[in-house]
């Protein structure tokens, strides 16, 4: 079965750009049909890893396997890896329909479907990405979100066994981003193609990925389900990078794990002074300055609780922590 989605294994792969180690001994296994996010700050190697899987770059050492076969022997043309580029790289002089049909129309004659069949499949894909009626337009005449979906339809036309997306929502404004990422998740649930996407936005990764691969300085810090990565970060880096966190001495505390009382109630607590209160939002946010160490603490609490406390900037408060994490340095 040539077009079944495939599993991908990255085994001890390293890659340098000059003296800069972009990837340092990275190993990773992607299961068939998974939606995986490569998450990390810029320079963490996430895009390099994606390009290696797609065959756009070559690693210096280590190997990549597609369903157990060494990818070094599979050329970029034969890889059937649908790649969606960060800026889409749509062919500017071709209509939307021609762009989507490109992968089918460049097949060797023996494997190329007839012209009418190519057009039918391209239209079908445009329907799948909800872009009917723009077939004749040029990419320049589309909005960012539409271009993104054309790029996706174009990549899907080659019946990819793996879909690779480089910052798929990076160039879009916040509202479109949110809509498109939910839509992508739904599309993935229908198609079940093994999909890897690169992002620096932790919210994006946590919301739609089955598993998140957190990367930093060319290494993988942690691999896990979104909740696992959030609740049980494997390192100080992951804890800092995913969600907000307070650092008090060597301890890491999530803002929602900070408990605030206006009176000392016998339990051990730290003295603090309220600096800032923001109640515009789903939860109330409060900044507190710890007495003694002078460290600033961010807290999140239900708005009902905030109303009960009725604390104003300058008021004295007492804090304790529901959950504290420490990492070996």
């Amino acid at each position: 079965m040539e077009n079944e989605p495939m599993s991908i294994e990255v085994a001890r792969v390293s890659k340098k750009f000059g003296a800069f180690p972009a990837l340092d001994d990275v190993s990773l296994k992607l299961e068939t049909g998974e939606l995986v996010a490569l998450l990390g700050p810029s320079g963490s190697g996430k895009t390099t890893l994606l390009r290696l899987i797609g065959g756009l770059e070559q690693q210096e050492s280590g190997r990549i396997f597609f369903d157990g076969a060494d990818a070094a022997n599979i050329s970029i043309r034969e890889r059937q890896a649908g790649f969606v580029f960060q800026h889409y790289a749509l062919f500017r002089h071709m209509s939307v329909l021609k762009n989507v049909a490109f992968g089918l129309s460049v097949r060797p004659r023996a494997k190329r479907p007839p012209r009418a069949e190519i057009e039918r499949r391209a239209r079908e894909l445009l329907k799948l990405v909800q872009l009917e009626g723009v077939e004749r337009r040029l990419p320049a005449q589309l909005s960012g979100g539409q271009r993104q979906r054309v790029a996706l339809a174009r990549a899907l036309a080659i019946e990819p066994r793996v879909l690779l997306l480089d910052e798929p929502f990076g160039a879009l404004d916040a509202k479109v981003r949110k809509e498109l990422r939910r839509w992508l998740r739904k599309l993935h649930d229908t198609l079940r193609i093994t999909t890897v996407f690169v992002t620096h936005d932790q919210e994006e990764a946590l919301e739609i990925a089955d598993r998140v691969v957190v990367m930093n300085q060319g290494r993988i810090e942690q691999i896990g389900a979104p909740r696992e990565v959030y609740d049980h970060p494997a390192s100080a880096f992951v804890c800092r990078f995913i969600g907000n966190v307070n650092e008090v001495g060597a301890a890491f505390i999530r803002p929602h794990d900070v408990e605030i009382t206006s009176r000392r109630n016998g339990a051990p607590s730290l003295d603090a002074v309220v600096e800032f209160v923001n109640t515009a939002g789903a939860v109330a946010k409060m900044d507190l300055r710890l007495e003694g160490s002078g460290e600033l603490l961010e807290a999140e609490l239900p708005r009902s609780r905030e109303a009960e406390l009725a604390l104003k900037p300058g008021d004295r408060a007492f804090v304790k922590f529901r959950d504290v994490r420490t990492f070996p340095s």
Partner: protein, 273 residues
């Protein structure tokens, strides 16, 4: 319909543009038309359709066209190499491209003649195969190719530099071969610039005089280009005959350049981003 522009003074700048073009381009050209107007229509026709004139028209337009086509192909190649590869001496090669601009054309003509003459470096090698370059129409084309090279390279180069490599990568991931990628993805992107370069090289070839007169041998009916024929007529004090040929050449050149410009605009509109 006039819109508010960032820079004021549309009227002034347009007026200046028209005045400038009139003074520099149109005035001298119209003088040629007036001079030719002294001829009656039958005599004008006779002057521009004599066998010798027609032969030189064929040579000038044919050689300029051939040279421009050759430059379009190989100039594109040179531009590609200069943009895509890093190699030792690249800056020198890049500078060499401009040399035909800087060199006095007569120097180019003498040098080319020396190289392509029967006992020259290249002429000696071609002679046994029955290929003669110097003092033949082929020699005219060689000179015009030399003169026109920078136009194609310098118009295509910046476009290639700006061309995102992701276009090629995208084509490759979609299964396109290198040839398919070039023909269907890269070429349409650079076609408008290539056409511009082609038009410039062609126009330059039509008007070129200095480098050609040495290598062509200037034999009437065989290797005589239009600019030379005009000079010859002038030297014989046949001012009307000379301007008649000039006017015919102007009209033909203008028509061809308009055609190429239209084609260029059409391809540019198709690939507009």
């Amino acid at each position: 319909m006039r819109k508010k522009e960032v820079l004021p003074g549309f009227g002034l700048s347009l007026g200046y543009t028209i005045f400038y073009l009139s003074l520099i381009v149109l005035l001298p050209l119209s003088a040629a038309f007036f001079k030719a107007g002294e001829l009656t229509w039958p005599r004008f026709l006779a002057a521009v359709t004599s066998p010798r004139v027609l032969a030189s028209f064929r040579l000038s337009f044919g050689a300029a066209l051939g040279a421009a086509l050759l430059n379009a192909v190989f100039g594109l190649l040179v531009a590609w190499v200069l943009v895509r590869y890093r190699f030792f001496g690249k800056r020198l090669v890049d500078a060499l491209v401009d040399l035909p601009f800087a060199l006095p054309t007569s120097v180019a003509g003498i040098a080319l003649t020396a190289v392509y003459a029967r006992n020259g470096w290249i002429g000696r090698l071609l002679e046994p195969h029955g290929i003669k370059v110097a003092f033949t129409p082929l020699g005219v084309m060689v000179a015009l190719t030399f003169i026109g090279l920078p136009f194609v390279v310098r118009t295509v180069q910046p476009i290639l530099e700006d061309l995102d490599a992701d276009f090629e990568r995208a084509a490759a991931t979609l299964g396109a071969s290198r040839w398919q990628t070039f023909v269907r993805v890269i070429f349409p992107e650079i076609a408008p610039a290539l056409l511009t370069g082609f038009a410039l090289a062609f126009a330059r070839g039509l008007g070129e005089y200095g480098s050609v007169v040495f290598i062509s041998g200037n034999m009437p009916m065989r290797t005589e280009i239009i600019p030379l024929l005009i000079i010859t007529k002038l030297e014989q004090y046949d001012y009307r005959g000379a301007t008649a040929i000039a006017v015919a050449m102007l009209a033909a050149s203008l028509a061809l350049l308009l055609l190429i410009n239209t084609l260029q605009r059409w391809t540019a509109a198709r690939s507009a981003a």
